[in-house]
Amino acid sequence: MASPQFKNPLVKWIDHRLPVFSYMHHELHEYPTPKNLSYLWNLGSLAGLALVVMIITGIILAMHYTPHVDHAFDSVERIMRDVNHGWLIRYIHMNGASFFFIVVYLHIFRGLYYGSYKAPRELLWMLGVVILLLMMATAFMGYVLPWGQMSFWGATVITNLFSAIPLIGESIVTWLWGGFSVDNPTLGRFFALHYLMPFVIVAVVMLHLIALHRFGSGNPLGIDVSGQQDTIPFHPYYTSKDLFGAMVFLTIFASAVFFYPNYLGHPDNYIPANPLQTPAHIVPEWYFLPFYAILRAIPDKLGGVLFMFGAIAVLFILPWLDRAPVRSGRFRPLFKIFFWLFLADCVLLGYLGGKPAEGVYVTWSRLATAYYFVHFLLILPLLSVVENTRPLPASISMPVTKGGK
């Protein structure tokens, strides 16, 4: 950890007393990174970019928004119509949530495929699951703020889940609402928490990065770096690659914001909230649909809630469920098949979550929910024991053994 020699005397003076420049040099410049990372390793920086975009647009929106049941919907329309480029800020924020989840879900599936959760990166993975949970809470509360029909009824359905807790459930729901239904006190606290949570996410992201930099990025081969010949400095190699990834991401993102801004939303949320009229189908935003399907698949309310939270909780203990010593799915022929089956199962759950809970959809939801947990609790532990993995390459610089692709 030799400190770099800075030429600028002011930088030198500051760095001697407050080594921020040395720190940035270590962590962002010379930080040794495996040279074989694929584009799937762009997703982390893209998630960071999405978080920053959400915070900046969110702060601007908060300047114009009014968290009151009588004014919230109107104030959002005022942002859309009368605030200079308010429509742009809001559409970026609205679609930004979806794109944040797209990037984070892809980031998670990348981690699942390449075994990024395995030793010594268990805490890095668990901090990521914490971030996912915080994102879900933040997104849920943010969706309530425009106070449209889906805002109101979504909030009613989700907060009511807590009433499933035996004995104290009803009291907890009353406490969450600040009254006897979703109303003005609920909106006020959701707004306050929606403003707070992103900064909690930033704090956990910092921890995520500290944990990441302890052992450095994994890589598509899943083997440890064996020396300098396997790594390149983060800057300029991965800064340039992340910049390219960011441009591709922003291009796709902008096409949604400018040309199909309401595509991922629900039309009912342009109807002001009406506590006396329930929409025909209450559906959450698309990124919650797989979990919504699990919730509705269980015939018992408390059971549904437990399984829904269990679907996330199982990710926490994943490093101890999959004990296979080989990290990368590339060298695990059976795991590879089950990975794609699991991905398909998640997509199926998402589809089912958007369908009414009746008839054949219920049956399929139960099968898909069962498979979700079977994958983690049965298939992965079993594979760790029975699978014959392919031989690993000797090093990242010499991946040319018969096993590697």
Partner: protein
């Protein structure tokens, strides 16, 4: 890379399914609208005709809460014309120095006055049904423009075996086929000063275009800015790709 895009496509597919799920009941007719697509724009003449249809027919029951008279400049009206249109409406202002509310002619800064004092008054005047505000109606329905157009031209005689309750009308489009709104357009309901097709279909299309504008008044500038942003970003994609390849040239695979 190809696999990455496949995964993205799958995720988009996952988002689509619930959005596209129709509510059932309706035969929705697809039309070509000038405001659709990347280069979409409003036809100002159609918007002006649609505005006239709204004023003379819809406005007796439906409000336009989020539209101010000044917004009509987007339809191509001059300031003098907007002042004249606003002056035709009376709004309540006040309190004055004596503490009383008073009526005065509207000015461009005012919003369109609501047709009823409150929801109860609206329901009392409409046999219990509440005519919704139309400012956002096109955004508040799945496939809004096509839906609204189809609804307006979708009235029919009920099938012989269907007993319609009092105050309900048969619609091919409305969910459940029974709608409380009587058929609003029949053809030749309005006279256009500048001429124009006044068939039921043409009037329905014009008022739909007008309400698409009230729902998304930013649509034209959004798409115009969007094209510039996309061009910039596509160029930046190539530039950043080039610089990445240049920097990575010395890395052995």
């Amino acid at each position: 890379m190809r696999r990455l895009f496949a995964i993205i496509a799958v995720f988009f597919g996952l988002g689509l399914a619930p959005v596209l799920a129709a509510e059932g009941g309706g035969e929705i007719e697809k039309r070509d609208w000038s405001f659709e697509g990347v280069f979409g724009h409003f036809d100002k003449a159609a918007l002006q005709r649609g505005f006239q249809v709204y004023r003379e027919i819809c406005a007796s029951c439906h409000g336009l809460d989020y539209i101010a008279f000044r917004n009509l400049s987007a339809l191509g009206y001059s300031q003098a014309e907007i002042k004249a249109i606003a002056a035709e409406y009376e709004v309540t202002d006040g309190p004055d120095d004596a503490g009383d509310m008073f009526q005065r002619p509207a000015i461009p800064a005012d919003r369109f006055p609501a047709p009823f004092a409150n929801e109860n008054a609206a329901r009392a005047a409409n046999g219990g049904a509440y005519p919704p505000d139309l400012s956002l109606i096109v955004k508040a329905r799945p496939d809004g423009a096509n839906y609204l157009y189809s609804l307006l031209v979708g009235y029919d005689d009920p099938p012989a075996d269907l007993q319609m309750p009092d105050g309900m009308y048969y619609s091919r489009v409305y969910s459940g086929n029974q709608i409380a709104m009587p058929q609003p357009l029949f053809g030749d309901d309005v006279v256009f000063a500048l001429g124009g097709d006044t068939s039921m279909e043409a009037l329905a299309a014009d008022v739909t275009a007008f309400l698409a504008w009230t729902a998304e008044p930013e649509l034209e500038s959004r798409k115009r800015i969007g094209i510039a942003v996309m061009l910039f970003l596509v160029v930046m994609c190539f530039v950043s790709y080039g610089s990445m390849r240049y920097i990575w040239a010395d890395v052995e695979k």
